[in-house]
Subunit: 242 residues, 2 copies
Amino acid sequence: MPKTAGIILVGNEILSGKIVDANASYLCRELRALGVEVRRISVIPDEVDLIALEVARFSADYDVVFTSGGVGPTHDDVTIEGVARAAGVAVVRHPMLVALLEAYYRDAITDAALKMAEIPEGAELLSDSSVRFPTILMGNVYVLPGVPEIFRRKFDALRERFRDQPIFLKNVFVSISEGSIAEQLTALVREYPELLCGSYPEFSNPEYKVKITLESRDLAFLDRALAELLKRLPADSIVRVA
Amino acid sequence: MPKTAGIILVGNEILSGKIVDANASYLCRELRALGVEVRRISVIPDEVDLIALEVARFSADYDVVFTSGGVGPTHDDVTIEGVARAAGVAVVRHPMLVALLEAYYRDAITDAALKMAEIPEGAELLSDSSVRFPTILMGNVYVLPGVPEIFRRKFDALRERFRDQPIFLKNVFVSISEGSIAEQLTALVREYPELLCGSYPEFSNPEYKVKITLESRDLAFLDRALAELLKRLPADSIVRVA
């Protein structure tokens, strides 16, 4: 069965408009290229009860879950505790993480910084030579940091774990409006119910008015559906196929 | 009581990484400036059952709800039906919207285009001279389109409806790491439990290492909390306050 994913962004700073998230959009693009279907993104506040509920729900609903943010040493970093509560386990300090933090901070380590050595009991630590600090995996939940550079580095170190059958995509650009192609698209998805078909109008593009997207994991099926669509559309409305 | 908001983005194209959403980040910034607290953002697929569940939940949990996307004439535009199901009402064709569409398309109107005249039964239509097409309001749910230019124009026409007591913000930039200020922040939020306090590390900024944000709707309270924080931090660690 193809893999599904859910993404939870823990971030008051996103909800309050202070920053624009870059991690979910990155992850959606990367996972799609790997053949993984992202089914839901939630952005929630830095509140441990909300995080616990959301992680439990996502963990049950999707094959893999990614959290972003809330893993530093300060009072508002409560993702680890939320993930632990979702799994019904305690938060414990991991000796290897303590050693890594002590090496990093040398003599200046504080109790607060040692918070970053905490993991949900029973979590795995995924290490790799390309990242300084391992990634925490609790059940099917990957706990990633909010800082985009580190988020990407950590995901990139893990990416091959998620590779699945590719999802193939064809784009058809047309010069007529959505209202003029809607009936053809409805007929197409009725005939090809397994087809993923999207229709995206453009209001300020001189080249085309609508981009139609057709997707499937089955390339031969996709080609048949594409041929059928091209037959149904007025020939002079097709700007290009890509 | 201060207003809370939730945002639902209906968008396969976001989940599949084809486009990066611009509407939620716009709305978070604008609503915050108006004094409205966004509590949750969900990005979900163009599937009517999922939309109905999410809209019903958000509508119960937050004072106002905004949906973005899924309101065109094609098979994948199912937001109106989802909002109607969430409210337990039928979808009906509104005569004023039919007239507007007929005027817009002139003789070329199709049955599919008339789908854009559909609303959940009992919804209000909010008109304004600055937008061509009214906005649908069903209970506390504002139904907005996904196209960013139109989304913004429609929101801007409505914005004064949402104005509440402002949320004041102070930023403190410090030159020491999060691990070194965590204890002071924990003590501060213990003493000022109503304070919204965030801590955001920067790993590649030469000017500072952490931005601390303090927020409240009560300016005098905020000033007291700020003075307390500045007293607690090492004086030579404070880069600037803004």
